[in-house]
């Protein structure tokens, strides 16, 4: 176990793994095939690979690395839209650094910048607003990206822009919402999942109630998990315990940060500024009903989609890319024909290879090849 030495508390990790082994031995695996547990959040994916969590688990448990990395599910056409906006002479296009290298059909934002577009990385949407304040003769566009974790920050920035009467600031709103996405995955016929690790920081905002339908209607356990390796192990144990006891409940392992009710102020900002879109396009997963938000009419003047003509291009993923199957856990990253050959972290074809939270990049970085060799 290469990485396990770095655990803050080796003893605790070993004890948890032993408990997991014990539990698994009491579950009738034959009836269940391997047990598939999906971690929804990219932060978990990163942590699982960084600490070699998969290698510590009994072989009866398979982790499926879900769609919870907002950068990884950006369709190519959306990147092209960003570039089209950024290429307007008067625009300063601002984005989190994570999105810079995601490939569009012709180029990435980072290449667009090299070609002369004014693209700037910001740490916070507030920095984009500051740019707007300081450059009144330019149009500043902020690329709003992320799940409910970052949604409130963009909303509060729009409210701030309104209260200051800043007219040259707008948001290209690409925020996405996790719950309809989990539902789409559960409804997908080729997918088999026995339980979920719920996203910690999304849940910090939305609370635990929105997941109840997963337990009630789909009869799948969900445990909201922290992102530290011991959190992940403990949460896996909690999921297994539910399976063992034939329960399906929503449980909260990350109670030190996540409250059942979520963050009220953040939720208020979200509902003031956004409304659900009828559907939204995801890379690899296609269109998912009600999975994205847009800016409400009241704040239309801060909506990039209404300020600019957006090409709204739809571009199919390259034919041999299997990002969708990887996202749904139908195949492992190293089973994609492009993995490690045409598609590498240096020259990514799919977004799963771009971000360190993407399953393909994580496999590539932390011993994916070993697995590939072992499985061949």
């Amino acid at each position: 176990m290469k990485y396990v030495d770095e655990f803050r508390d080796r003893g605790k990790a070993d004890a948890l793994v032993a408990e997991i082994d014990k539990l698994v031995s009491t579950i009738d695996i034959a009836a269940r095939r391997p047990i598939h547990i999906m971690e929804v959040c990219g932060g978990h994916t990163h942590s699982i690979f960084r600490y070699g969590v998969e290698g510590m688990l009994p072989k009866e448990i398979q982790l499926i690395h879900g769609p919870g990395c907002p950068v990884c599910v950006l369709p190519m056409g959306r990147v092209d839209d960003c570039i089209a906006i950024a290429e307007h002479a008067n625009v300063i296009f601002t984005t989190f650094g994570d999105a810079m290298r995601v490939p569009g059909s012709r180029k990435s934002l980072s290449q667009a910048r090299a070609d002369g577009a004014d693209v700037r990385m910001v740490y916070s949407p507030m920095d984009a607003l500051t740019l707007a304040r300081n450059n009144p003769d330019r149009e500043v566009v902020f690329f709003g990206l992320g799940f409910e974790t970052t949604m409130p920050s963009t909303a509060l920035t729009v409210l701030q822009a309104e209260s200051e009467g800043i007219a040259n600031f707008s948001v290209f709103c690409n925020h996405i919402t996790i719950v309809p996405t989990i539902k789409a995955i559960l409804d997908s016929p080729d997918v088999h999942i026995d339980g979920f690790l719920g996203p910690g920081h999304v849940s910090m905002v939305i609370g635990t109630a929105p997941y109840e339908f997963i337990a009630q209607y789909y009869r799948k356990p969900l445990v909201v998990a922290g992102f530290e390796p011991l959190d992940v192990l403990q949460s896996i144990w909690m999921v297994l315990k539910q399976i063992r006891e034939q329960r399906a409940d929503v449980e909260n392992q990350y109670a030190r940060v996540v409250q059942g009710t979520g963050n009220v102020a953040a939720l208020q900002a979200i509902s003031r500024v956004y409304e659900l879109r009828p559907f939204f396009e995801w890379r690899g997963l296609g269109s998912i009903d009600h999975s994205g938000v847009r800016i409400r009419d009241e704040y239309a003047r801060f909506d990039t989609e209404r300020k600019f003509a957006i090409p709204n291009v739809r571009i199919a993923d390259p034919k041999s890319c299997q990002c969708g199957e990887v996202l749904k856990g139908v195949i492992k990253p190293w089973q994609c024909k492009l993995f490690g050959s045409a598609c590498t972290p240096e020259t990514p074809l799919g977004a799963l290879m771009v971000s360190s939270e993407g399953a393909c990049a994580a496999y590539h970085q932390y011993g994916g090849f070993k697995k590939q060799a072992g499985a061949a």
Partner: protein, 93 residues
């Protein structure tokens, strides 16, 4: 951008706009604390709080020990460096 980074509120800059200076592993920058202020925890009570900061917004209060532990893990994950660099650049920019 999805993992928060812990910091400590050192000063309230603008009570009406809910802006405060937060020290994140030695990097000081202004962040928005609207999401952690409420009737039970008014803005004046926030100085000294440890908070989880996501893209310039404090999203949850945490305790000090947990803050240290989280920071340590983020460093190992390579996340802390990236975020601190982004903060430093934007504080300078």
């Amino acid at each position: 951008m999805c993992l928060g980074i812990p910091g400590r509120i050192v000063k309230i800059d603008d009570a009406s706009r809910k802006l405060a200076t937060v020290d994140v592993a030695g990097v000081k920058r202004q962040i928005n604390i609207a999401c952690i202020v409420n009737d039970a925890h008014p803005i004046d009570a926030c100085v000294g709080d440890w908070v989880l900061v996501h893209v310039g917004f404090a999203m949850a209060r945490i305790d000090e020990q947990q803050a240290e532990e989280t920071l340590r893990i983020l460093k190992e994950l390579g996340e802390a460096q990236e975020q601190l660099e982004a903060m430093r650049l934007s504080a300078a920019g």
